[in-house]
């Protein structure tokens, strides 16, 4: 699976994120305090304004901490739930069902990776519907209450504004949870039923395998074609059947009877819905001179995700894994590899390019090649090659000491340094993975291309240890939890917007946050001036004058003014971007669709992010709500 922006480890993320969060919250609070002060000062004078603002902040603190009452919040949540039911939010569920009905026509089960399409579809449909739902209920609820004046009866009770907002949020969150669970259940059955298919196989489809002129007794053949694919089947002399993997799945095969009367029963598809738990290493490149390099070669792809190395040269892809121990992997390392192959000449068209797999001890430099493998880019679905580094490596194809070479300002540094090289290490014919090759839990896995003129390419997530398989259902639930988090953020923004805007305006504002959040990376790029064609004003100028984005503008006063205006606009954009939630990153559909377990660390990070956005937003909503008159 492609992971373009991997998350840093939790602690590193947390430290950085916390600092940014505190900074943004502080900045926004200051701006808010100033604006609040300004509004009061215009009416009552600067001194009283300070006093009132201070009083309000104290009040807020008490309203959120001291007086807050679970009973009141649950009462208001109950009201929100009742309101949702009255607003027929269940209709969303019906829409979801209708969507799925139509999707059945539209998702091609004959696709290369039907599971990916099915899962992507159900999860994105769920996401969009949940967002729509959140958008509507959040931005219409409070304004409707205010317009109908039902709010008058409520706020004349000892209810805190904080409770009104939190009550709504929790009520709607509960509704969203229930609907989400419903959707998850329906999705699960939709996917399993949609992917389900049966092949048939009759005795006529089978021929006996000949080897070296004689019949081996094994039968082989192709099943019937369903959803645009067939499976190759082998039945051995003993009547044991095996179905080969095609399009990412396989079937069970049962042979009833024998000889010409044998019947073959093929079971439902298996292996579609996985949750691999990968352990990633850190990828480094070694160039053809044997020097460490940050990046691999670019073979002319527009997409620079994978770096390439040259075949039949010292170049290698090196993944360093940490924390390897016999306790974790007593048998050896089950690796999975996705490899890009680039040929500079056709070579033998019918033969795949060969590569080697080796492990190396990072301290002693002992390098043991364990396997020569064939690589077929994109051949299998999923495009993953399974490799295995056994615990006991006997008679490996190649053993040597390899020194890593690093180019530093002081010259080339060798690791291990020449005086520490111990050639006697290579004398053995049998190696133990942990004794000989793991140093302090660290291990290097090397992938090289052994054919001249051909190239291998990889990115960090392309090789991992498949530690175990998690539960697909839990993985699906995790993805739904991701959707739930986004829903919460949208609810928070919607409720806050509705404290001071009318319903439709609040909705538009929330849509703005939503769209901005989904394209936050772009907004930030825009704010940092990393896009072509300048900022908003310069772009506008270029649009009107039909100037292309690359040409320099003629220097002069006009251009100067444009650029200055853009600096201000960019500052504004940056401010906006910093309070936009990174909604685009919450989608875990890809993980589920490609059969990878969503790491709990990610779940934790996203949860914290949700709180980091929802809480300040609700607090802001509190101030908006407090400072407005409820009656008109």
């Amino acid at each position: 699976m492609v992971v373009e922006n991997p998350l840093p480890p939790f602690l590193i993320w947390f430290a950085g994120a916390l600092a940014i969060w505190l900074g943004v919250v502080a900045a926004v609070s200051l701006v808010g305090f100033f604006l609040g002060w300004l509004a009061v000062a215009l009416e009552r004078g600067p001194r009283e304004a300070v006093a009132r603002n201070w009083q309000m902040i104290c009040q807020a603190f008490q309203d959120f901490v001291r007086y807050i009452s679970g009973s009141r919040i649950s009462g208001l949540a109950y009201l929100a739930i009742k309101e949702s039911i009255r607003r027929r939010v269940i209709a969303v569920f019906v829409v979801f069902l209708v969507l799925l009905m139509f999707a059945g026509w539209h998702i091609d089960p004959a696709s290369r990776e039907p599971a990916v399409l099915y899962l992507n579809f159900v999860l994105s449909a769920t996401t969009y519907l949940m967002l729509l739902l959140a958008l509507f209920i959040a931005s219409f609820s409070l304004p409707t209450d205010i317009r109908n004046r039902t709010i008058h009866t409520v706020v004349t009770k000892p209810v805190r504004a904080s409770e009104i907002l939190l009550g709504r949020l929790s009520g709607f969150a509960l509704v969203a949870t229930v609907i989400l669970i419903g959707m998850a259940i329906v999705s699960f059955f939709f996917v399993t039923l949609g992917l389900n298919h049966r092949h048939t196989l009759t005795a006529e489809n089978l021929q006996s395998v000949t080897e070296g002129g004689g019949e081996t007794g094994t039968l082989t053949g192709l099943t019937s074609s369903v959803f645009g694919h067939r499976h190759r089947v082998y039945v051995d002399v003993g009547g044991q059947g095996r179905v080969e993997v095609a399009r990412g799945h396989y079937h069970s095969l049962r042979v009833v009877g024998s000889g010409p009367d044998a019947r073959y029963e093929i079971g439902p598809p298996e292996g579609f819905l996985l949750a691999r738990v990968p352990i990633y290493g850190k990828l480094e490149f070694r160039d053809r001179d044997g020097l460490d390099a940050d990046k691999g070669l670019n073979v002319g792809d527009e997409w620079t995700y994978r770096g390439y190395i040259q075949g039949a040269s010292p170049a290698a892809l090196i993944w360093t894994f940490e924390g390897m121990s016999p306790r974790r992997f007593p048998e050896g390392l089950p690796l999975e590899l996705t490899l890009g192959v680039f040929r500079t000449h056709k070579g033998n068209i019918e033969k795949p390019v060969l590569g080697s797999l080796a492990v190396r001890n990072p301290r002693t430099g002992l390098y043991v090649e364990t396997e020569i493998f064939e690589s077929r880019e994109f051949a299998e679905v999923p495009e993953i090659k399974r490799l295995f580094v056994p615990r006991k490596i006997v008679n490996p194809p190649s053993v040597q000491i390899i020194q890593r070479k690093k180019n530093t300002p002081e010259g080339i540094v060798l690791s291990p340094p020449p005086e520490e090289v111990r050639p006697e290490l290579t004398q053995k014919r049998e190696f133990d993975l942990y004794e000989d090759l793991v140093d302090n839990g660290r291990l290097e896995v090397w992938i090289r291309c052994i054919e001249p003129g051909q190239y291998f390419g990889a990115a960090q997530p392309d090789l991992y240890i498949r530690a175990r398989d998690g539960s697909f259902v839990i993985n699906l639930l995790k993805a739904c939890y991701g959707i739930w988090l986004v829903t919460i953020i949208v609810l928070a923004y919607g409720i806050t917007a509705s404290t001071f805007l009318s319903a439709p305006v609040a909705m538009v504002a929330t849509i703005g946050v939503l769209v901005g959040g989904l394209f936050r990376d772009f907004v930030i790029k825009l704010a940092l001036g990393q896009t072509y064609g300048g900022g908003p004003f310069e772009s506008l100028y270029r649009l009107v004058t039909q100037e292309n984005v690359m040409s320099e503008l003629e220097p002069g006063l006009g251009t100067l003014l444009l650029k200055m205006a853009d600096v201000i606009a960019r500052g504004f954009l940056f401010a906006v971007a910093s309070i936009l939630p990174p909604l685009g990153q919450f989608g875990w559909a890809n993980w589920v669709a490609h059969g990878f377990d969503i790491p709990w660390e990610h779940v934790l990070i996203r949860t914290l992010q949700t709180f980091a956005f929802a809480i300040p937003v609700i607090v802001a909503g509190y101030f908006f709500f407090k400072s407005r008159e409820i009656a008109e």
């Binding site: 009201l79 008058h152 000892p158 209810v159 409820i630 009656a631």
Partner: protein, 308 residues
């Protein structure tokens, strides 16, 4: 029904006090649009029923909303139960019946009361008991499982009253309590108000139905165009010493003529003969006539008063 008069002077505990309470509505640009309430000074004591009178748009509802903190005063201050009107915690001891019944139509009567009970942090058992009592009190026990949307206007009104009493409040604000009620309902409402007063509660009500005010209020304030025009005890305000009213029944036209003759013979002056009108109405209309003749004159309230 005769107004049961307590002795307001005995325990002059102030429940509501407004000082120079002013509300100006502004438009989007901050320009003054309407002066809804002008420098109101008012003091209301514990245990009394205070009526706010005035035609539509005279500022009585604005006053109520200011007292409840639904609006913020432009100038001046309102102190309710010793706290600023914008302080939420004062609501613990307040019951409010809005002008129209603003209740959630998708809740049943029982759910409504339970919901509002929760807002007072009442334990579940207390809520259940209180809900049952109040439903009984307003006569909605039979309809407690029905959604408010199915209620008639009168039923909704009664439920509104019930929710205002859910916390057994010390101060009750009733905005037009008898609108939408049939005569029997109106009577029952008035009875209830008096009963509450007997329990020692302070009641502020506003209405434009003069008969209601006259029947139950101890004191009234008359608002016109945001200004307090009249303030005082109802009986004192209405007592007209140089006029005697004769009421009788069972007579015909001849009898009326006889009475007329008797009065004329004794040099009495007949103002009016016919079915009697509500006298508060008279007063009210007179104040309005005067106000229009001499705009700007107003009463400074605050002192307890029986008079003009």
């Amino acid at each position: 029904m005769q107004t049961g008069v307590n002795t307001p002077h005995a325990v002059p505990e102030v429940v509501v006090e407004t000082r120079n309470l002013t509300k100006i509505y502004r438009d989007f640009w901050g320009r003054q649009k309407v002066r809804a309430l002008k420098a109101l000074d008012l003091t209301i004591y514990k245990g009394e029923i205070f009526g706010l009178l005035g035609p539509n748009g005279s500022g009585k509802t604005t006053t109520m909303k200011l007292l409840l903190g639904l609006l913020f005063p432009t100038e001046g201050q309102a102190i309710v139960l010793g706290k600023d009107a914008t302080d939420v915690s004062k609501n613990e001891r307040i019951g409010y019946l809005p002008e129209e019944t603003y209740l959630y139509r998708f809740l049943t009567g029982e759910e409504t009361l339970d919901f509002f009970g929760r807002l007072f942090n009442m334990p579940a058992a207390v809520r259940r008991q209180r809900t049952a009592e109040l439903l009984e009190l307003v006569g909605l026990t039979g309809a407690r499982r029905r959604q408010v949307r199915e209620y008639s206007k009168g039923m909704a009104r009664r439920l509104g009253l019930a929710q205002a009493l859910i916390n057994d409040p010390d101060l009750i604000l009733l905005d037009e309590p008898t609108t939408g009620l049939d005569p029997i309902g109106t009577r029952a409402m008035k009875d209830l108000i008096l009963r509450l007063k007997d329990q020692g509660k302070t009641i502020i009500m506003c209405s434009h139905l003069l008969a209601d005010v006259q029947d139950v209020c101890d004191r009234i304030g008359i608002l016109y165009q945001g200004e307090l025009k009249e303030l005082g005890r109802v009986d004192a305000l209405l007592k007209v010493r140089d006029v005697t009213e004769i009421r009788f029944s069972g007579g015909d036209g001849a009898l009326v003529d006889d009475v007329k003759q008797v009065i004329e013979r004794r040099n009495g002056k007949i103002h009016f003969i016919g079915n009697p009108t509500t006298t508060l109405e008279e007063l009210f209309l007179q104040i309005i006539r005067e106000s229009e003749a001499h705009p700007g004159r107003r009463v400074r309230g605050g002192i307890s008063g029986d008079g003009r």
